[in-house]
Amino acid sequence: MKSSTARSPDTKAPDQVAENRLPWTREQPTRKRRFSDRILSPLILSPAMTLIVIFVYVFIAITIWVSLSNWGTLKVDMSIRQPLGVTYQQMFGMTRWHANLRNVFIFTALFLSFSLAFGLLLALLLDRKLIGYTIFRNVFLFPYALSFIVTGVAWRWIFNPEKGVNVLFDTFGINKLIEAFGGPPLHPGWITDTSVLFSLNTWLGTIFPPLKSLSIQLGIPMALIPVVIAAGWQLTGFAMSMYIAGLATVPHELREAARIDGASELQVYTKVVIPQLNPVTVSTAIILGHVSLKIFDLIFAMSGGAGPGFVTDVPGIFVFDYTFKATRYNLGAAASVIMLLLVCMIIVPYLWTNLRKR
């Protein structure tokens, strides 16, 4: 009485039933179907759609508008700032913003390689199903359950230049050992270190002279390394669980076939299993990539904000400082728009290929 299959006497699968339906049964089910397709599903979806349209797309539009406006004090002023887009021009002239872009790209690159590499390694180790497999799988996944603030506070203490790991260098005699070989004792400033590794300014300057006068060093800020370790520690478990799920989909027959063909155990992994994991790598990189582009809380907890010489500054902190501390709503909105574009650069190609596959 409730569904068309129950009413029709044959036992074919539902969609086949729909195609080969007898004339006398046709009318009512199609009307029902039409009702559910054309009216009911949009009706059920409409509250959610309305909310999404308002709270996502309308607000994105408002943010873009604010970024072009004169709203630079507590007083709301939505008139368009002339010349158009001058706030963006100003922002891209700011030393701090240059440092932000450098940091967010370096951080994303390092953090992705760290999490993916260790996630894959752990997944492959667990794939061997050694003793304590379930325990370790959970242990590696636990950090993912914490919030970034908790991780940030804990790692801030670990990387405190006066206490934390630096104490270990002394107590375990590592510094004595280094001094014995004539080196200076190891006392890294970690999150407070202002040096930039592999500075490319002079090299890039020979190719493109304006870069020589750039007020920031293009390279890897040392202070970001503790942040990468903390973020990697938290999200490696996530990458690992993605890889474990991916490994489960690699058919056992493939491995068997490779072994029969004389592949060594290493070759089974490098030539058969890991290439099969490429789609997993892509999805994990995209999920982690947009986390890292939007990062705010971890860095805020670890370094308290921009850090000396903006070594740990990221667009998220820039937006917070300029919107809520400096009340320059237009500048904060402009930075948010650029953050959105950065995330879009990752997400849109992914969605595009996914939709095309379907």
Partner: protein, 423 residues
């Protein structure tokens, strides 16, 4: 059929949604909502003292203490801004005089003027004129101050200096200070303690050094646009500041300002340049004024008093206006001023209070308050718009690393232009 079973639930939800807004309007008792970011030990106790006096004067009013924790109001301000912009202001909120009050809150029309209150209470007679000027716009006063901190103090550990054979008199010049620092460094003591994990702490050091170089008139000229931020004097101040940074503790960016004061207390460092909220840290450690620690105006700033004051406003369309006015009246009373300030570690704004309630440091500070030029602080948002304050913090963040005086000054010039300090 499935839909039918859902209907009662939907009805219930709709009914609830319609009823909820009315629940919020149910109370109409006498109330007063006070918004501040005074949550730490001494600050909370001081706020409680204000409440106590108010309750004695105006019984039967329930006080809603809307505090948001977070140093210097960093977390509270976003909440306040949202409430103001959303048309749901607290009755009264904490504000610094000067630009923050007049530019940020009064100019967009979030406050009510208080000139009637100032007249009826005769505050014009007991408050220093220079101070009242900081909270006056269009001939009207806009907030009532609870107390005043002095920003340009140099604190030192007496025992450490004695050991190094250094004596500090009534005043000290920047060159003398640099010479002392060199002497201490040679003796193996870290001369200067800075805790700039919150960048404002080192910005405060620069601000004090800037005042020490340009002087009180120069300070007024800078923030009224008569003197440019790339003036040779400002550059000289930046150079002195760069020299001072050579003498700071190596772990400065991992510490907060109070941890830096602790380094002075424990004798790991000799000096720290900080406002007199640092005094509370010394007393908390059971150290005695003039015995264990000493103070002097930051080098070159004798005769100037950087005001870091906290006041309360009257919101436009305040939900409980009568209660708020009596609250502000209570804050300005002699009684409140005497109760609040010893706990907060600040000094009263009134000149007619009982000085014996205060210790040696605060008596010294009151003397300076009565005779020196009272200047608004830039680091605490009084001298210039918040956007300039942020630009200064950013410029300092960069300067601490690259010590590039020209880039630093041109960043400030640019920021001054954008914030309409200079045309």
């Amino acid at each position: 059929m499935k839909i039918n079973t859902c209907l009662p639930l939907t009805k219930l939800a709709t009914a609830l949604a319609l009823l909820l807004p009315f629940a919020a309007f149910a109370d109409s008792a006498k109330k007063l909502e006070v918004f501040s970011w005074w949550t730490s030990g001494g600050e909370a106790a001081a706020l409680d003292a204000l409440f106590k006096v108010y309750k004695e004067r105006t019984p039967g009013v329930e006080i809603v203490n809307a505090t948001v924790a977070g140093g210097g109001g960093s977390a509270a301000r976003p909440v306040l801004q949202t409430r103001l912009a959303g048309g749901n202001p607290p009755d009264t909120w904490q504000a610094h005089p000067g630009w923050e009050l007049l530019g940020q809150y009064v100019e967009p029309g979030y406050c009510e003027p208080l000139n009637d209150l100032y007249q009826s209470e005769n505050w014009g007679k007991v408050l220093p004129e220079q101070l009242v000027k900081l909270l006056t716009k269009d001939g009207k006063q806009w907030c009532v101050l609870a107390g005043v901190h002095r920003g340009n103090d140099l604190w030192y550990n007496k025992k450490v200096l004695e050991k190094a054979g250094i004596k500090i008199g009534d005043t000290i010049s920047i060159d003398e200070f640099l010479a002392d620092c060199a002497k201490l460094k040679a003796a193996g003591v870290t001369p200067l303690a800075v805790g700039d994990s919150g960048i404002w702490a080192t910005a405060q050091l620069f601000e004090n050094t800037l005042l020490g170089t340009v002087g009180p008139t120069g300070w007024q000229d800078l923030f009224s646009g008569k003197m440019a931020f790339d003036d040779p004097k400002v550059k000289q101040a930046a150079q002195s500041y760069a020299k001072l940074l050579e003498y700071q503790n190596s772990d400065h960016s991992a510490l907060t300002w109070d941890q830096a004061i602790k380094a002075v207390e424990e004798g790991r460092c000799a000096f720290s340049s900080m406002g007199d909220w640092a005094h509370g840290e010394f007393t908390k450690a059971n150290l005695k004024d003039d015995v264990d620690f000493g103070w002097v105006s930051h080098p070159g700033t004798k005769g100037g008093f950087i005001v870091v004051a906290d006041g309360f406003t009257l919101a436009k369309n305040a939900p409980h206006k009568a209660e708020t006015v009596s609250w502000l009246k209570s804050i300005g009373s002699k009684e409140s001023q005497e109760e609040f300030n010893p706990l907060k570690g600040s000094i009263p704004i009134r000149t007619d209070v009982d000085k014996s309630k205060f210790g040696p440091y605060h008596q010294w500070s009151m003397k300076s308050f009565a005779s020196d030029a009272l200047l608004p602080s830039c680091v605490h948002g009084e001298a210039a718009p918040a956007a300039f304050q942020q630009a200064l913090n950013d410029a300092i963040t960069q300067f601490v690393v690259d010590k590039n005086v020209d880039a630093f000054c041109s960043a400030l010039v640019q920021a001054a232009k954008e914030s309409n300090i200079t045309k």
